[in-house]
């Protein structure tokens, strides 16, 4: 498989850099079960280019999947980028001639995505106090982007999301009183509907490229983009599962609610109440808890065999420990 991609990148270098463009670098950065990221570079007609290939390595059905296709992802990055969002520049969307399957190419952005580093590495000490505000500002350009036509993005609200995850939870057969109470509590506190906007859908520490000098450099991983309540994107980055050991700093483990909201308002975003963000934050913990249960189930049912999966099942108690505090505090 790796050889195929390398050969594809050689060919792509010629297509993008002109005849005779030589691949100078090609290496796989990361890979989940279904997605691969490759860094590559070549010397082309217009000089050196450092790029990222994102490609799907497993079959995908956009109708039934929660995530969007990579072509849709590329269109969203282009549309939000044109509207001023900090996103990578899309260099090329692959087609059949490239032989790389479903894939697109971005210009490489330097920086750090590891949440733990953003939260604790002294290199980020100087910018860290400003990051929550920057995250608020960054969301406005995304939320104000009119969704490009023809993408068929799913629309989600609080009730739909609770229904979806409660159905998944019931199907697991697990009996967890704290998750039950969180479902019940959140159903009684669903915020008033708002005019839905385009959402990133997975806006959290870990999916944002940060620069040690300038802060937010690029917002990555658009596969869960959808239409919904803007507070959903704010609540997800506040979910304790993504604070990397700093629960005292609610925004991503690096900042405070007030800075996130102030940045959002200063950049022209609509006014959002903290309780609304906290609703989505709590739903974020609940959602992650249910997802951990399903990852265990994929092992129990023999779909995956990695020892990782049952151990992730024991992370449900992390979300329960968070939820029980949130239930005590209220929204």
């Amino acid at each position: 498989m790796e050889l195929d991609v390398r050969a594809g990148l050689e060919k792509l270098a010629g297509r993008l850099g002109g005849e005779g463009a030589k691949l100078t670098e090609a290496g796989r950065l990361s890979g989940g079960a279904s997605m691969e990221t490759w860094a590559f570079a070549f010397e082309g007609e217009n000089g050196p280019e450092r790029l990222i290939l994102r490609r799907r390595s497993a079959p995908f059905d956009e109708e039934t999947a929660r995530s969007v296709s990579l072509a849709t992802e590329a269109k969203l990055i282009q549309a939000t980028g044109a509207n001023g969002a900090r996103v990578p520049k899309v260099r090329h969307v692959c087609d059949d001639a490239d032989g790389l399957g479903e894939a697109y190419v971005m210009v490489r952005v330097d920086g750090e995505t590891l949440g733990k580093k953003i939260v604790g590495d002294p290199r980020f000490d100087a910018v860290r106090p400003g990051l929550a505000r920057q995250c608020g500002e960054s969301l406005v350009a995304i939320h104000k982007t009119p969704p490009p036509p023809g993408l068929n993005l799913k629309t989600v609200d609080g009730v739909a999301e609770l229904d979806r995850y409660e159905e998944v939870y019931r199907a697991t057969g697990a009996e967890r009183p704290i998750l039950e109470l969180a479902f019940q509590y959140l159903r009684r506190h669903v915020p008033e509907p708002v005019e839905p906007t385009l959402l990133h859908g997975d806006f959290r520490n870990g999916n944002i490229m940060f620069d040690p000098q300038s802060g937010v450099a690029a917002i990555l991983d658009w596969e869960l983009a959808h239409i919904g309540d803007p507070a959903e994107d704010m609540g997800w980055i506040c979910t304790n599962s993504w604070r990397f050991g700093r629960p005292d700093r609610p925004v991503g483990g690096f900042g405070d609610y007030a800075d996130l909201l102030a940045g959002y308002a200063a950049a022209g975003g609509r006014s959002i109440e903290l309780s609304r963000v906290r609703f989505w934050q709590m739903l974020g913990s609940l959602r992650w808890g249910v997802m951990c249960l399903t990852m265990y189930l994929s092992w129990r049912d023999g779909i995956t065999r990695s020892v990782e999966r049952p151990m992730i099942g024991r992370r449900v108690s992390e979300t329960e420990a968070d939820l029980v505090v949130l239930l005590e505090e209220g929204l």
């Binding site: 009183p177 109470l181 509590y185 629960p247 020892v307 024991r314 005590e328 505090e329």
Partner: protein, 119 residues
């Protein structure tokens, strides 16, 4: 139970061995070996701390539900009565009981995790 070695000591010995060979493995297997060692550490904690945690959970649930029972029965009833809306965050003693259960379970599953409000 046999005490030479105790069950948790057997588990601990395997965990230590995995840690010992981890540096010799390729990156993917080294990662999985770390997960495996963590799994065994959880098993050890469940063996040593699980019985007290379960007893505390049974006592807490019995207090909220108003009658005695075993863990599985009380847990199922607690879930059903929360789901029906009969028990809520307002119910005296419910959140306190759930907090104790959450604290004991995280101590077994992921003791290094820093929950909301814990810093």
């Amino acid at each position: 139970m046999i005490t030479h070695p105790r069950t948790e000591e057997l588990v601990e010995s395997v965990r230590l061995w995995i840690d010992e060979i981890r540096p010799t493995l390729d990156p993917r297997n080294a990662f999985l070996a770390r997960v495996a060692a963590n799994a065994l550490a959880t098993v050890s904690r469940e063996i040593t701390e699980g019985p007290a945690a379960e007893a505390a959970a049974v006592a807490g649930m019995a207090g909220v539900l108003g009658h005695a029972g075993d863990h599985a029965t009380l847990n199922a009833e607690l879930c059903a009565r929360i789901r029906s809306g009969e028990l809520t965050v307002e119910t005296p003693g419910l959140l306190t009981a759930l907090q104790v259960m959450a604290r004991d379970q995280i101590a077994i599953d992921q003791p290094s995790y820093k929950p909301e409000g814990s810093f």
